[in-house]
Symmetry: C2
Subunit: 167 residues, 2 copies
């Protein structure tokens, strides 16, 4: 065992374990099923504002949102099927995909231009820039949006929205 011999030569025995013939054990363990998530709660004067805010929350978890400057704009146009939950899921997923495929674009401001509840369609703009470690703080990357315990309280005056994202 080369490693243990080297260590013995380099360090010598310490007073606390001088009678130990040191032999590092084999590794007989592994790590499984690493899971991590965070719940984002957003609210607003309208459901549109809550949707805008939950996207800001997602980017705000990845970096300190106050460090993001208004250097670029991205526009999206998405349609969902079934219900508002699917619309929210697709809305968030679209911004996450833009982050992943378009130069790590992060937005500080999201502006919904069209919010069609019947057609389940959203057109929105994001204002921000490329995430840059030399200027932005490192938060935790959001890996996926989930439907887990998703809540859209449209009747509440604060239009609360809850989304759990995998990190």
């Amino acid at each position: 065992n080369i490693k243990s011999n080297q260590d013995e030569e380099e360090n010598g025995p310490s007073s606390s374990n001088e009678d130990v013939k040191f032999d590092y054990p084999d590794i007989k363990y592994e790590f499984l099923d690493n899971t991590a998530d965070v719940q984002i709660h957003a609210w607003g004067d309208s459901l549109e504002e809550s949707f805008e805010q939950v996207v800001m929350g997602m980017f705000g978890y990845m970096t300190d949102i106050e460090g993001i400057e208004n250097r670029d704009m991205k526009q999206i146009d998405i349609r969902a099927e079934g219900d508002l939950q699917n619309l929210l899921y697709k809305f968030l997923s679209e911004w996450l995909e833009i982050y992943g495929t378009e130069d790590y674009f992060v937005a500080r401001k999201i502006e919904i231009i069209l919010f069609d509840r019947n057609e389940l369609r959203i057109i929105a703009r994001g204002y921000g820039e490329t995430f840059d470690l030399s200027r932005h703080t490192q938060g935790t990357e959001v890996k996926a949006i989930t439907y887990s315990n998703m809540q859209i309280h449209e009747e509440a005056s604060t239009h609360d929205v809850y989304v759990i994202v995998d990190i």
Copy 2:
């Protein structure tokens, strides 16, 4: 809004959004219920070895275990109540507490001196040193041991042990 005015002065309008009067939105979101865990699977030629290995796994998640040198030794003596699961829980918790209270001690080798299944008692030694960011890689800190889906397969030839820890 001081921030948005400052940003407008510093950056000016960009070509992509020159018609936007820029006003950064208020923050209307918060982060809730951050959860993260990892499952450690360990095995050995005996149940004692599996118990030793799962502690090594815990430290190996916090740092690259090969960077830990044999500079110090800690000995523990713990007793559990009820069953082997409680013994495993207390065994891991004791090493985690030593990490937290005794200079961030991390072990590369764990040696069980006494493993009394009837009395549910373990005496063990850990060989390692103080965790030091200038010499050790930064993994993820283990915050707590859990009973969630804990498994001890004592009849299996590999004596598999599974423990989920909060990170």
